[in-house]
Symmetry: C2
Subunit: 345 residues, 2 copies
C-alpha cells in the first residue's frame, strides 16, 4: 500500500500521507503515516512478552493474552510526527522533509497504562516511564529508540494500543503493542513495545538528549525542551496548494487538532490573512481526535489567491502565523499558505 | 479478504463477519458483512451519474464531483442485515443462515440526502423515495433490487455515503455511493446507487412486497410490516459460544445497538437468565453507533454455564428473551444463549 504514500526514506521506513488521503475523519491503516528510527522486526505472538521493571514493587512479564484480559479502552486519537511540517519552515532544518501528511486519526483499542502499572505497584520515588521496543537500530547512531514520559502522563492519559481502526495493530504501526501518550507526538508513542522501565528521572540516551528537543543551532541540545504535546494546528486538505480551478462555489476543507486541548474554532482567510471567516465543523467531536471542518468559498474574480486556515483552542489560544524555527524543525504549527489560481473564463 | 469471512453464498455474494472480528468499535472494511441480491458491476467513475427524478420540480443528474462538492457529513453508524440472527431462531426460517455477524460499525462520509433533494425541489405530494442501484439481477426473481423509504426519513436522517472508514466506499459496499438510512437495516440502504425516484406511495415491486416484510407462513406477504428500524439487540463477541476455559477472571465482551434509539444499559447473566449484572461501556458513545461493553466474570466453580446479555434503550425498553418468529426470519433480537464450559482442575 506504500505506492499511494509519499516515501521520505526506505531504510528506515518513513512515509507521509498525501493530502488526497487526508480527507476523512478516519485515516485508514494502510495510508497512516509511517515514522521509524530502526528496522522493523517480525513478531511471533506466542513468544512475545512485555516486561515492566525498574522502580516497581512487583516486576511483571505479561503475555499478549494477559494484555487482552485487562479492561479495554477504545478511542479516536490523532497522532502527529514531531517533525511534521518541517519542510514548510521558511528556513531549512535537519530531518525528514515532512509536509502536512505526518499526521492521522485512528480509533485505537488497548488498555490503560495505569492499569498495568497498578499491577506492578510503582514505588514512591518513581517519576518517569521509559518505553523500549523490538525494533533494531540502523544508521550511524546505532542505539535503540528508547523514550520516556513523565509518570504523571503515563498514569493519567496513556494507553497501550493493540488495535487500530478495528484491526490488530499492523506490523508497521507497532504490532503487537505500542504506547500512545494521548495528544503527544509520535516520538512519545513507542512501537513494538516490549519493555517499560520505571525511573526516578527521564531516561538518558540519544533519542532523549540529542534529538526530539527544541533548540537552536550551536546550542547544547539538552538545553532545549523535550518534544511532548502536539501543538495547536490546522491543515487544508482540499483544494491542494497549486490547484487551478474556475469561478463558482468551492469547498475548502481540512482538519484542526490541538494535542491535549479541544478545538473550538477554525477560521479561513481567502486574502492572504487579511480577513478571516468561521468554518463549519463536520463529523464527530471527540477528545484527542482532530475536528474536520469545511468552508464554502464563493469565488467570482479570476486571479491568484493565498488561502489559509487557523485553529483556536479551548484555552483561547490561536495558531501562530509562523512557528519558531528550531534546529531540528519540530512543532511547525505556523499557518500554511495555500496558493490557488482561479481561471479567467 | 473474504477468506477470513464466513461465506453464506457466492453468487450473489453474502458473507458474515466471524465473532473474532467483531471485537472492536470499528469494523474494518475488509471484514464488514456483505449482503447482495444481485451481481456487482464495475464502475468507471467518470461515466457514473445519479439521477433524481419523479415527483420533483427540477429533475437532476449529478456527477461524482457534484456530490463531493456538497457539505459533508461524517458519522459512525451501525448497519445490520435485516436477516441477521435468522439461523439462531428456534424454528427454521427461509433465507441466508446469518448468525451474529451480519452487523458492523463504520465511520461513513457522505452528504445529506436532504441537501440533494432540496436541489431537486420535491413536490408537495411526494411521500416516498425509491433507491435503485447498478447491480444486476441474478437468480429466479430476475428483478432489480429497488427499495423505497418514507420521505420523512429521507429528509430527516438519511445520508448518501461515499466513504467508509476513511476510504472511498469499497466496490463490495456500494462504490461509488450508497444510501444509508440511519438506524435502519441494510435492505433500506441501497448500494451502487444511481437513481432516486420520488413517489407519492411506497415503491411496488418484489423487494418491497414479497420479501423484507414480517409475516407468518401462509399469510399474504403484503399484510406484513416492511422491515425498517434495526431492533434493540446485544451480542456477545467474546468468549465465543462453545468455548472451554479454566477458573479465574474472564472478560465477557460484546456490543449493543438499537436502531434510532440510544443504548442506556447492558446487563449480563451468568446463570441462564436467572440474575443480571450491569456491564461497563467501553469506547465512544455516538448516536447511531453501537456501544461496546464488557463484564468481568469471576468464575470459581467448574461446570457448564449459559451466559447471556440484554440491552436497554433510552425509551426504557429491554431486549426480549426471544423474538417473534416470522416466515422470512427478520429482526431476531432475542437474547442469545452462550454455552461455555469451565474446566475441572
Amino acid at each position: 500500500m506504500n505506492d499511494t504514500m509519499k516515501i521520505l526514506s526506505e531504510k528506515p521506513l518513513n512515509a507521509e500521507t498525501p493530502a488526497t488521503h487526508l480527507q476523512s475523519w478516519i485515516t485508514s491503516n494502510a495510508l497512516f503515516f509511517k515514522r521509524n528510527q530502526g528496522q522493523i522486526m517480525p513478531v511471533v505472538i506466542e513468544d512475545w512478552r512485555i516486561s515492566i521493571q525498574g522502580l516497581v514493587k512487583r516486576p511483571l512479564t505479561l503475555r499478549y493474552s494477559d494484555i487482552l484480559s485487562l479492561p479495554k479502552v477504545e478511542m479516536p486519537v490523532t497522532l502527529e510526527c514531531s517533525g511534521n511540517g518541517r519542510s514548510l519552515l521558511t528556513e531549512k532544518a535537519s530531518g525528514n522533509p515532512w509536509t502536512i501528511g505526518g499526521v492521522g486519526n485512528a480509533v485505537w483499542g488497548g488498555v490503560r497504562l495505569a492499569d498495568v502499572l497498578a499491577m506492578a505497584e510503582v514505588e514512591d520515588k518513581a517519576m518517569h516511564a521509559a518505553f523500549e521496543g523490538l525494533d533494531q537500530p540502523v544508521g550511524s547512531a546505532g542505539v535503540k529508540f528508547i523514550r520516556s514520559i513523565p509518570l504523571v502522563k503515563a498514569l493519567d492519559s496513556t494507553i497501550l494500543a493493540f488495535e487500530m481502526n478495528g484491526e490488530p495493530l499492523p506490523l508497521e504501526h507497532g504490532y503487537p503493542l505500542r504506547a500512545l501518550a494521548l495528544g503527544w507526538t509520535g516520538a512519545n508513542c513507542v512501537k513494538w513495545l516490549n519493555k517499560i522501565t520505571i525511573l526516578d528521572k527521564p531516561f538518558a540516551g540519544f533519542f532523549m538528549d540529542k534529538v526530539y528537543r527544541v533548540f537552536q543551532k550551536g546550542e547544547d541540545s539538552t538545553s532545549g525542551q523535550v518534544v511532548t504535546i502536539i501543538p495547536l494546528k490546522s491543515i487544508i486538505t482540499s483544494p491542494e496548494t497549486g490547484t487551478t480551478f474556475s469561478k463558482g462555489d468551492h469547498m475548502v476543507r481540512g482538519a484542526a487538532y490541538g494535542g491535549e486541548e479541544d478545538i473550538t474554532d477554525v477560521e479561513v482567510s481567502l486574502d492572504d490573512g487579511g480577513t478571516w471567516h468561521a468554518a463549519t465543523f463536520v463529523g464527530p467531536h471527540e477528545r484527542y481526535a482532530w475536528r474536520r471542518w469545511e468552508y464554502l468559498w464563493h469565488v467570482s474574480k479570476p486571479g491568484h489567491y493565498v488561502i489559509m486556515a487557523r485553529a483556536w483552542d479551548s484555552r483561547g489560544r490561536v495558531q501562530p502565523m509562523s512557528a519558531n524555527w528550531n534546529f531540528l524543525g519540530y512543532g511547525n504549527n505556523g499557518v500554511l499558505e495555500h496558493a490557488v489560481s482561479i481561471l479567467v473564463r
